[in-house]
Amino acid sequence: MKGATALRNRWQISPKTSEAIAAYLFLLPTLVTFFLFVLGPMLAAVGLSFFDYNLLKWNSSPEFIGFDNYRQLAEDGRIVSIYQTTLKIAVAEVALTIGLGLLIAYLLEQKMPSLLRSLFRMTYFFPYVVSVSAVALIWSYLLHKDFGIVNYYLGLLGIERISWLRSSQWSWVSIVITESWKSLGFNVLVLLGGLQTIPAEFYEAAEVDGANGWGKFRHVTLPLLTPTLLFLLVIDSINAFQIFAQPYILTQGGPGDSSRTVVMYIYEHGFRFFNMGYASTIALSLFAIILVLTIFQFRLSRRWVFYQ
C-alpha cells in the first residue's frame, strides 16, 4: 500500500477519507452486481407492469398502458384457480414435510447406534441435493398409471390404479408427493438442530414430575421447538409458493390448470407468449402475496411461539 501512502501525502487525504475510498473500492463489485441484477430488475419489473411490451410483435417497443395489466389480472379467469392450486399444494406440502420431519427428527434423537443415526440422516437428506429435474423425471415414471411401481404396490394393498399425472383429481397430489419427498430431509435437518438445543435438564425435570413419553413430547419438546417450527413454516411456505420445475416436468400444469402453479403461469406469459408487462404484473402479485403471508405468519406466531 505504498502507493496509497504516497497519494495521501501528496493530496493531503486524511486516513478517514482514505479508509472510505478503500471501502467503496471493496464494495464496488457487490454494489454493481446488486444494482444491476437485483435492485434494478426489481424496479424494472414494477415499471414493466405499467407497459404493454410483447417481444413477439414485429418492431416491438414498450407502450405505456397505465393500470391495464392490473385490470387484466383482476379479470383473469384463470388466475384465481391457479392461486387456489398453488395454495393447495403449498399447504399440503408444508404440513406434510413439517409433520413427517418432526416425527423422523424425534425418532432420530432417540437412543440408537450413532453410525445408524448418521446413515439415516444422510439417507433422508440426499434427495435434497439432487437436481429437481432428476427427481421429477424419476417420479414421472414411478407414478405412471400402468407401469409405475407406486400403483403396483398400492395394488397389492387392494387400491385400484390411480391416474396420478393425467387426472385433475390427482395431478396436484403428485406434485405434493414429489416435492415433499425431495425437501423432507431439509426439515429433518433443521428440526434435529432444534431438538439438540433443548437442555436435558428439562426432560429430567419432567420425569421427576412423572411425565411419560408423550407428556414429555407434548409439554417439553413441542413448546421449546416452536421457534424452529416458525422458521420452517416461513421458509417452507416461501419455497412452496415458488414451485415450478416439478409441475413443469411432471404434469405440464395439466390436465387443464389442475396442477398449474403461479410461477408456471408467469413462465407461460413471459416466455411462451412473451408478454413481458403482464408476466411482471403476475410476478409482483405473487411477491405481494408471499410478503403478506410472511408478515401474517410472524404476527400470528406471537400466539403460539414460545421463546426460552
Partner: protein, 291 residues
C-alpha cells in the same frame, strides 16, 4: 482374562443391556422411511442397466436387471451432448461459486471492518434484496441479457447470480466474530487495508467461505429455471434442463435411456455428497435456500 478383554466384554454386556424393544421399533420405523427415500433411486439405476425393452415395463417391477448392459449409457451420448451438459454445469456453477466468493468476501469485509459514509443505509438496502424473488426479476433480467447480446450464452447464467445479498450477510456476520485486535495489530505494523483483508481476514473465515461455496455450487448446479429461460441451444445447456431433453417430445424417449441419463447425473452428486456430507449438511442447515 486381560484387562482389555474384560473391558470389551463389559462394553459388550452394556451394549446389550441398553438394547430395548423401543429402540428396535424406532429403527424399524426409520428404516421403512429410509427405504422410501432410497427405492426410487435404486429402481431408476437398475433400469439404466436393463438390456431388454420389455423388462422396463415389467410388472411386478424388477429390482435387479437380468443380463445387465451398458448400451443405454451409449444411447444417452448418441441422443444428447451429455458430456457437454456436464461440462457446462461444472463451468457455470464453478464460475458462479468463484465469483461469489470474491464479491461477497470483499463486500462483507467492507461492511464488517471499514468505516464509510452511508454504511448502514447501504447494508439495509442490500438486506432488502433478500426478499426479492427470482420470479420477479427474471423478466427484466431476460430483457437485459437480450439487450446486452448475452442471451443464449453462459454469461446470462453466470452474471445475475453473482449478486448474492445472503452471501454478503453470512460472511459479514462471520467476520464480525473475528477479534478486531488482529487487524489493529496488523495496522500498527503498517499493513494496508488490502493486506488485512487478504492476509488476516480471509484465512480466518475459511469455514464460512466453505459454507458459501457449497451453497452456491449446489444451488446453481441444480438450478432449472435460469437455464430453461436463458439458453436455447442444446450444446450450451446445463445438466438439469439437458436431462429433460432426453425424454424427447411427447415423452417419446426410451425409458431406459432416460434412466441411464439420470443415473449419470446422480452418481457424481452421490460421490461428492458422501465425501463432503458433514460440510454439506452443516451448510444447508444454516440457510433456507432450496435446491
Amino acid at each position: 482374562m486381560s484387562i482389555e478383554a474384560r473391558r470389551s466384554a463389559f462394553a459388550f454386556h452394556r451394549r446389550w443391556r441398553s438394547f430395548s424393544w423401543k429402540t428396535l421399533l424406532n429403527v424399524a420405523l426409520l428404516a421403512c422411511g429410509a427405504l422410501i427415500m432410497v427405492a426410487p433411486f435404486a429402481w431408476i439405476i437398475q433400469l439404466a442397466f436393463t438390456s431388454n425393452v420389455s423388462q422396463v415395463y415389467e410388472i411386478p417391477p424388477r429390482w435387479f436387471p437380468t443380463n445387465p448392459t451398458l448400451s443405454n449409457f451409449a444411447d444417452v451420448f448418441d441422443q444428447v451432448p451429455f458430456d457437454r451438459f456436464m461440462w457446462n454445469s461444472l463451468k457455470v456453477a464453478g464460475s458462479i461459486t468463484m465469483g461469489q466468493l470474491v464479491i461477497c468476501s470483499t463486500g462483507a469485509f467492507a461492511f464488517a471492518r471499514l468505516r464509510f459514509p452511508g454504511r448502514d443505509l447501504l447494508f439495509i438496502l442490500l438486506l432488502s434484496g433478500l426478499m426479492v424473488p427470482l420470479q420477479v426479476t427474471i423478466v427484466p433480467l431476460f430483457i437485459l441479457m437480450r439487450e446486452l447480446d448475452l442471451y443464449n450464452t453462459h454469461w446470462a447464467l453466470i452474471l445475475p447470480p453473482l449478486a448474492n445479498p445472503f452471501g454478503v450477510f453470512l460472511l459479514r456476520q462471520y467476520i464480525m466474530s473475528v477479534p478486531k485486535e488482529l487487524d489493529e495489530a496488523a495496522r500498527i505494523d503498517g499493513a494496508g487495508v488490502f493486506t488485512i483483508y487478504w492476509r488476516i481476514i480471509l484465512p480466518l473465515i475459511g469455514p464460512a467461505l466453505v459454507t458459501l461455496a457449497i451453497l452456491a455450487f449446489v444451488f446453481w448446479w441444480n438450478d432449472f429455471f435460469f437455464p430453461l429461460i436463458m439458453i436455447n441451444t442444446p450444446a450450451l445447456q446445463t445438466l438439469p434442463v439437458g436431462l429433460t431433453l432426453l425424454r424427447g417430445h411427447y415423452d417419446a424417449g426410451s425409458l431406459a435411456t432416460v434412466a441411464a441419463g439420470i443415473t449419470m447425473a446422480i452418481v457424481p452428486v452421490l460421490i461428492v455428497f458422501l465425501l463432503l456430507q458433514r460440510n454439506i449438511i452443516k451448510s444447508v442447515a444454516t440457510s433456507g435456500l432450496k435446491g
